[in-house]
Assembly symmetry: none
Homo-oligomer: 254 residues x 2
């Protein structure tokens, strides 16, 4: 996470102190702490502090700059956020590629993401001071992305990238594969479960081996998707034992 | 983008109308329009409308539900957002994998992302009604993600995924989820299966509601990973009916 410490979030000419506070909060949730303000209309302001909701350390540490150049002083990479296409502007990058590039360069020095005014965005002059331009892909029919929300999206991508990057391997990733809380069931444990299930279904009159109707393939298809754990197989077989031994005791409320 | 139209954003017990408005705005920028509110503390409210900033059509179309089950009625997939790890909760997914799964399933029916109260999050009971749980990876030192910001992150990921996945080609496949051979079971069909399973286990003496020992959460965790189809629910309930009515006829070879 050292790399995130080298990332500056620059807000150029923000109008509303609430958005400055929301940006600080958005940053801090993602482990990004360096906010720089270029000519904010109202700052400091109690509305900013209220919206920061505990991220007021980020606000307090935020220098107020007189120009974008001042805010970008010492950086080795600056990327502009813009809702508009610009003729002859810097090269466009996707959000994800931008996050990746920012973190890569943050290994070597300070980098900046530059956000414009809520209404006007960034001036062409400001955009030209950045090496790349990023557009968050909003719905063309309603592209009114809140400033704090835009900062949230970028900082989220930075953190995602920082977490998924480098050594980590798959550890936290691979989401769809459920981390085992019990060891995975072995092939033979699962097969014994299927045999048990089949026996119980036959005894209950639900399954006729002479007219199987693809019942077992259907159940295998179902449980085959699960990656059963050993504990789960034990529970399922426990249920089978119980229902097999005990006739329904009370039909009335069923 | 048709798939985004099948996505429901469910806010369960939101306290602050401003966050409802921010969520609506966040959704609309990403082309997601279906907001559902479960027992909002204050709604409708002028603060919500103000923060929605032009996304008031999303607010106006948002139904107010009395329970999470009502909000999830008819869905084939529900995913809970949670800042906390839960013992024996649903299987975890990364944000990105969740977005991918949501869009994949949205080809086939309605899907829901469920967000909890600003302070308390989702109740365990609510979480249990979802098939997966997603944690937005915040900085452990400050994880105070604003509700609207969390909605923004998820909707952003949905849109990113929808844009990048354009041609798709794989439909409902994508390896882990088996293509449907029968329509996916709806939320209420699956809930009826759980209720049926619970009844049968109680009658069989396997489950003691007074000493539940987390049996139902374990079974929900198991079947939650499967993406049950309607035919499969019917088979499972058929088995339950059969074993419930018919005592084991022959113990000897077991």
């Amino acid at each position: 996470m050292q790399r995130l410490a080298n990332v500056r979030i620059v807000l150029s000419n923000p109008s509303h102190p609430g958005n400055i506070g929301a940006a600080a909060r958005a940053m801090k949730t993602m482990g990004v702490a360096r906010l720089m303000l270029v000519n904010p209309e109202r700052f400091p302001d109690p509305v900013a502090t209220a919206r920061a909701a505990g991220a007021d350390d980020v606000l307090q540490a935020a220098p107020i700059c007189q120009s974008l150049d001042e805010a970008l002083h010492g950086t080795i990479l600056a990327i502009a956020l813009s809702a508009r296409q610009r003729d002859l502007g810097p090269a466009p990058l996707s959000v994800r590629d931008a996050a990746s590039l920012v973190l890569e360069q943050a290994e070597c020095g300070d980098v900046a993401l530059v956000f414009g005014n809520e209404t006007r965005g960034l001036s062409n002059e400001d955009v030209q001071r950045c090496r790349y331009i990023v557009h968050i892909p909003t719905d063309p029919a309603y592209s009114s992305l809140n400033l704090g929300a835009a900062v949230q999206v970028l900082c989220y991508e930075l953190r995602q990238n920082a977490l998924s990057g480098a050594p980590l391997g798959q550890e936290c990733t691979a989401g769809r594969v459920t981390p085992f809380s019990s060891p995975p069931a072995t092939h033979e444990e699962v097969e014994r479960f299927y045999a048990h299930l089949r026996d119980v279904m036959i005894r209950a009159g639900f399954h006729d081996p002479l007219h199987p109707k693809r019942l077992m393939p259907k159940l295998r298809r179902l449980f085959g998707r699960v990656a059963l754990e050993r504990d789960e197989v034990n529970i399922l077989r426990g249920i089978l034992d119980a229902v097999d031994k005990n006739p329904g005791l009370d039909r009335s409320n069923h």
